[in-house]
């Protein structure tokens, strides 16, 4: 039975090869080429417009704090946007990753099955909430409720200079960081949980048999195994945070200033600035925003490259014999 099947399928496949395969080949090759062509066209277009804008820029594009792209002559720079984007995203990652890893470990290794499944489901749901909803929640709930925390931080951490606060609405980069942390928490948790769940039982038993407690088992076998997965998950989260638009635009009160204190309103991010400025921008203004978008793209690429480097460096120890 089993030995007769292959020739039969081979024969029937042969009959269909000519037409079916050729059509499919043509279709897939055609769509591949089309896709590449479209992407190339977009890249060329964006780079060209960006180059136009940067050429017309009277200020230093990388270091200037101004954004008067619609003025004549236009003067704009991305320093404030780069600072705001990086600071809020890194803050989000620092806040979210430890919590996400904790929740993921709880679901994969601590919670009884009856609790783990619904908990995982709820977190899946959270990942599907549209970002504008988070933005509205941030503006209506988070911002008014953070003033207490801010006052506390000003009292005890104010001496660092990073956390001074003089009252007013908490529409700062720090609030953006917290909101972004909440937004990326589900995706980082989900990916980490899947990684931890695949941690090889063999090594967990090895640790147990040596007399490891549950936490020691996690430290000795689950975390080392999941390390590169958690890094990937964090980078996924960071990528989301870097590009997040609506939630930031809803919460932040933007300005083209870099403040030492993260709790003071002001600053901006690439995506938020594009969303806020695109409609009213003139032709050079739009090109300037496109140029800033390309910078965001480069930053995202760099982040991903760095993550790959970190993961590759540990490859030798990655559990080849599992």
């Amino acid at each position: 039975m089993a030995t007769e099947t292959p020739p039969a399928t081979a024969a029937s496949a042969k009959g269909a090869t000519r037409k079916g395969d050729r059509i499919f080949l043509g279709l897939s090759r055609g769509s591949g080429i089309t896709l590449l062509a479209i992407m190339a066209a977009i890249a060329v277009f964006l780079t060209w417009r960006a180059a136009l804008a940067i050429g017309a820029d009277e200020a230093n594009f990388l270091t200037s704090f101004e954004w008067d792209a619609n003025a004549d002559p236009p003067r704009f720079g991305i320093a404030v946007l780069a600072f705001g984007t990086v600071v809020s995203s890194v803050l989000a990652m620092v806040l979210a990753v430890p919590v996400a890893v904790g929740i993921a470990l709880f679901i994969s290794h601590y919670a009884p099955r009856k609790l783990a499944a619904p908990l995982g489901y709820v977190i899946d749901l959270l990942a599907a909430v549209p970002s504008i909803v988070y933005g509205l929640w941030g503006a209506l709930f988070l911002v008014p409720h953070l003033t207490g925390l801010y006052t506390w931080m000003d009292t005890y951490l104010g001496w660092t200079g990073l956390f001074t606060y003089h009252g007013g609405a908490a529409r700062s980069l720090f609030t953006v960081g917290i909101l972004l942390a909440i937004m990326i928490l589900p995706i980082v948790t989900n990916v980490s949980r899947e990684v931890f769940r695949q941690s090889p039982k063999m090594q967990e038993e090895a640790a147990l048999a040596l007399g490891a407690t549950r936490w020691e088992v996690i430290r000795m076998s689950v975390l080392p195994f999941g390390r590169s997965g958690v890094i990937s998950a964090s980078m996924l989260g960071l990528g989301r945070a870097l590009g997040e638009t609506m939630a930031v635009a809803t919460v932040l009160s933007p300005s083209f200033l870099i403040k030492a204190s993260l709790l003071e309103p002001g600053g901006g991010t690439f995506a938020q600035n594009i969303a806020a400025g695109f409609k009213e921008a003139g032709s050079t203004g739009r090109d300037a925003l496109i140029a800033s978008g390309l910078v965001l793209f480069v930053i995202t690429l760099l982040v991903n490259g760095a993550a790959r480097l970190i993961i590759a460096r540990r490859k030798e120890y990655s559990g080849a014999n599992a």
Binding site: P200, M202, Q203, E205, A206, A207, L208, A209, L210, G211, A212, T213, E216, M220, S221, P224, F225, R227, R314, E316, Y317, S318, G319, A320, N321, A322
Partner: protein, 258 residues
């Protein structure tokens, strides 16, 4: 250093399924006891009740008594974690920690027991690797990952890891079944050396191996698939292989089933 194991009336369950039923036996210190029997008769399950690893599987439950000298392993207030530090285990497939170096693998159990000074650690790691007949092969690459070793070397690394914490008992669940004949011989030699220091229990599918390495042999059997496994008899290895008391043992050993 080595302790006597005294099992009485032991049954183990997976959920409501009884995998082994009413097992009683004594394992002498400083000896090798081999468990043989057909697949699924509960050898691994029984072995894992001896260091309280059985209960980490979902639904795993144990009834009965296991005494280690005069300590009741299932007594009230006994911490399974500390039991596992006294009763070491080597698994069917070599399972060194892949993210750790050879050195760190051997030191892993010691680090769990608290902070050891670097100098002591170096000494114990060297002693354990020598004890596992692996030192000469790895002494120049202690900081390389353990997963880079051959299967047989990995298994000896796991043995070194287990004996580094100086357990009273060493349990081995088919430690050679994933290895080539030469590595198997190396492990068998090693078992012969280790029995002067530890009480050793080894599960094996290979009857020649049981005959070669063990002083005592226990034969397990099950009436049918789905029925619980039982201890048929335990006796001196020579006797089991030459003149067993029970007919089923003779049938199994002479290859009439299993």
């Amino acid at each position: 250093m080595a302790k006597r194991i005294d099992v009485s009336g032991l049954s183990a369950y997976y959920g409501s399924f009884r995998a082994i039923d009413d097992i009683s036996m004594t394992v002498e210190p400083r000896s090798v006891t081999a468990f043989i029997g057909p697949s699924g008769c509960g050898k691994s399950t029984f072995l894992r009740t001896l260091n309280r690893m059985h209960e980490v599987t979902n639904g795993g439950r144990v009834e009965g008594k296991v005494m280690l000298d005069d300590e009741d392993l299932y007594g009230p207030g006994v911490d399974p974690v500390s039991v596992r530090r006294t009763v070491g285990m080597v698994f069917q497939r070599p399972n060194p920690f892949p993210t750790m170096s050879i050195y760190e693998n051997v030191a892993a159990g010691l680090r769990l027991n608290g902070d050891h000074r670097k100098k002591d650690l170096d000494e114990i790691v060297e002693r354990s690797l020598k004890g596992a007949n692996l030192w000469n092969e790895v002494k120049d690459r202690l900081n390389r990952p353990g997963s880079g070793l051959s299967g047989g070397q990995q298994q000896r690394l796991c043995i070194a890891r287990a004996i580094a914490v100086e357990p009273q008992v060493l349990l081995m669940d088919e430690p050679c079944s994933a290895l080539d004949p030469i590595s198997t011989l190396a492990i068998e030699d090693l078992i012969g050396e280790l029995k002067s220091r530890f009480t050793i229990v080894i599960v094996t599918h290979n009857m020649q191996q049981a005959a070669r390495v063990s002083d005592r042999t226990a034969f397990f059997n099950l009436a049918e698939v789905g029925a619980p496994g039982k201890l048929v008899e335990i006796d001196d290895t020579e006797r089991i292989f030459s003149n067993p008391t029970v007919q089923a043992t003779e049938d199994y050993i002479s290859g009439r089933f299993g």
